[in-house]
């Protein structure tokens, strides 16, 4: 960062900056970032990032490092959860500086709300990949796209129809509003699915994993970071869900983690986003928390699903 600015807002001065107190309240942050003057060396201000619970642990960890860095000691970052929808709403209404989201804003703000998505600037900070998983005793380790579609639309209801044990299939889904489900539907199934009678819906990945491991005949999908021996990981059209296959573009079931700002980010917010994108974070914290570094992706994909080679 060569572009160093100072902010002259008294409320966000030295006193108010220790910890997550009122200084981080959303109403103050825009004005804090607005009144910049190049008289001092350090950036000061506060950032409120809210939204996706999937992305929250990463943002929190990076925020801790960021605030510990002496270069940015004047900046307070507060991170909250609440879900992608909440994050997008709050950043769009100016209540938060950054809205964390698992999916593109265009997919949430539709119809009458579509202009709201246009105001938001997308910062893709990481990639999360998902794999279909099943109860360990179903006797299947690979499903084609068509088989997955048939299972999740209720056409196939027994594992023996896809070459497995004679066991009824129990679908463990995410709520229809969930970003994880949208990703799975968009990139694994290619179609929207309805909530079938008897299917289970859970929003938390931990609960989903527990249920898959315990319920005979269960099928679900989980982020790669949740995979272990308690569940059977299913290959997708013969492709194993691994980080290498995601970055090279062979495995399609993945999504960006977005950090949206309303308009171009202010210097304070930009400093944080740049820090997030820096090599030391992407290659350490991002990997450590089982996200895929955005920098390692060899392909790019837009909101409509068009893939381009980088």
């Amino acid at each position: 960062m060569t572009f160093v600015l100072a902010l002259t807002l008294a409320a966000c001065g030295n006193k108010g900056n220790n910890g997550a107190n009122g200084a981080a309240s959303p109403s103050e942050s825009p004005s804090a970032s607005g009144s910049a003057s190049p008289s001092e060396e350090k950036l000061t201000g506060s950032i409120l990032a809210t939204g996706s619970t999937a992305l929250q642990p990463l943002v929190e960890q990076v925020a801790q490092k960021f605030m510990a860095d002496s270069k940015y000691s004047g900046i307070t970052v507060q991170v909250q959860g609440g879900g992608s929808g909440t994050g997008l709403t709050q950043v769009s209404e100016g209540q938060a500086d950054i809205g964390n989201s698992d999916i593109f804003a265009e997919e949430k703000f539709k119809d009458a709300d579509a202009p709201k998505a246009k105001e938001l600037v997308d910062h893709q900070v990481a990639v999360v990949a998902m794999a279909a998983v099943a109860h360990p005793k179903v006797g299947v380790d690979n499903l084609t796209k068509q088989q997955l579609v048939d299972i999740f639309t209720g056409k196939i209801t027994n594992w023996k129809d896809v070459g497995g044990a004679d066991q009824k299939i129990v679908i463990i889904n995410r709520p229809s509003s969930s970003g994880t489900r949208k990703t799975f539907e968009n990139y694994a199934l290619g179609t929207k699915t309805e909530d079938l009678p008897g299917s289970i819906q859970q929003d938390s990945s931990g609960t989903v994993k527990k249920l898959v491991a315990e319920t005979p005949g269960a099928i679900a999908y989980l982020a790669l970071s949740y995979l272990d021996d308690t569940v059977q990981v299913l290959k997708y059209d013969g492709v194993e869900p691994t980080v290498e296959n995601v970055t090279s573009g062979k495995y399609p079931v993945w999504a960006y983690e977005h950090m949206y700002t309303k308009g171009e980010p202010t210097p304070v917010v930009k400093a944080f986003l740049d820090y997030m994108m820096s090599e030391e974070i992407q290659n350490a914290d991002v990997k450590e928390l089982n996200f895929i570094p955005i920098t390692s992706m060899q392909i790019a994909r837009d909101a409509n699903g068009n893939v381009t080679q980088k």
Binding site: T53, G81, G82, G83, S84, G85, T86, L88, T89, S92, E93, K108, F109, K110, D113, V170, P175, S176, S177, S178, G179, K192, E194, D195, L196, P197, G198, S199, I200, Q201, Q202, D203, T207, K210, L211, E214, T215
Partner: protein, 310 residues
């Protein structure tokens, strides 16, 4: 305000001649404090009701959804091309779980109350009552997790089905509302005039005859109040139920099949939807239904209390 009676009296005697004697000021101060508290309370309640009503009525006012469609529609599919907002499965799930929970908790609560008041008052007062009241202090997420780890696997092994469903939800809720039912029943039994019991014993009635013919009929309205309050609590409980009920938006065929309640569907999707979207507004409508149901429960409790006084 905190002065003892004696001090107040002395002050009065000393300052009686002054235009604003101290006790007057104290009285005025106390009154002002109480009025401010009441005002805050009323404003809070009305703003909550107003907020939920405005948001919850939006789908009906804007013409997107009919009241009948919402209350009696069987299909809930807010993310479809043609969104459907039928909340009947949730109403059914909410009523089924809370009534079933009350049916389980009521006999347990009554028996515990009778044991604590009639049979072993000392043990009841010192050990049993604190133990039951302790149940009220356990966070609901703990109940949910215990339900998911103990009750759901037990039901899955014992009955056909996935274990998850209305029965699991009802069992978890019954434990949660047990303190309410028991405490109110115990208070009612303790406040019973001892002459009634003694008269019954004097006429040669056995303990069981006294309990079943005298004590239970006399305290019935209070016991019912406890049950209704328990149902109201069960109706509004979200997290624990959400974890064990499965959340499929359908009316289930059995007690062991995935179902949903009003609260579970609200908690599942509220964070994922953006404020002001049709889906989000429909969730507020569900919240409004919940609120109205709570009013109904409060009304029933008042009716019962009036009957008890007669």
């Amino acid at each position: 305000m905190n002065l003892s009676y004696k001090e107040v009296k002395r002050d009065t005697a000393v300052q009686a001649s002054k235009p604003f004697p101290k006790h007057r000021i104290e009285e005025w101060r106390g009154k002002a404090y109480v009025y401010v508290c009441i005002l805050v309370l009323i404003v809070t309640i009305f703003s909550i009701v107003y907020f939920i009503a405005v948001r919850g009525l939006t789908p009906f006012v804007s013409g997107g959804v009919g009241v009948g469609e919402m209350l009696f529609g069987k299909v809930w599919d807010p993310d479809a091309e043609q969104p459907l907002y039928g909340a009947l499965p949730f109403l059914y799930g909410s009523f089924a779980t809370s009534l079933l929970a009350a049916a389980i908790a009521a006999p347990l609560g009554f028996c515990a109350a009778i044991f604590m008041t009639e049979m072993m008052p000392k043990l009841g007062r010192t050990v049993l009552q604190p133990a039951i009241e302790l149940l009220a202090g356990i966070p609901s997420v703990v109940y949910g997790f215990v339900g998911l780890s103990v009750i759901v696997p037990f039901l899955r092994h014992t009955f056909p089905g996935q274990g998850i469903g209305i029965m699991a939800g009802a069992i978890v809720l019954s434990i949660m509302i047990l303190p309410t039912v028991t405490t109110i029943a115990t208070d009612a039994l303790r406040s019973l005039p001892s002459g009634l019991k003694e008269g019954s014993y004097a006429l040669g009635a056995t303990r069981w005859q006294t309990i079943s013919r005298i004590i239970l009929p006399t305290t019935l309205p209070s016991l019912l109040t406890g049950i209704v309050l328990g149902i109201a609590r069960a109706f509004g409980e979200a997290l624990a139920v959400q974890m064990v009920i499965g959340n499929a938006p359908h009316i289930p065929d059995s007690l062991f099949e995935s179902a949903a309640t009003l609260t579970s569907i609200i908690t599942l999707s509220m964070g994922n939807t953006t404020l002001g979207s049709a889906h989000n507004n429909a969730l507020w409508s569900l919240a409004l239904i919940l609120l109205l149901m709570t009013f109904v429960f409060v009304f029933i409790v008042r009716l019962l209390e009036r009957r008890a006084k007669r």
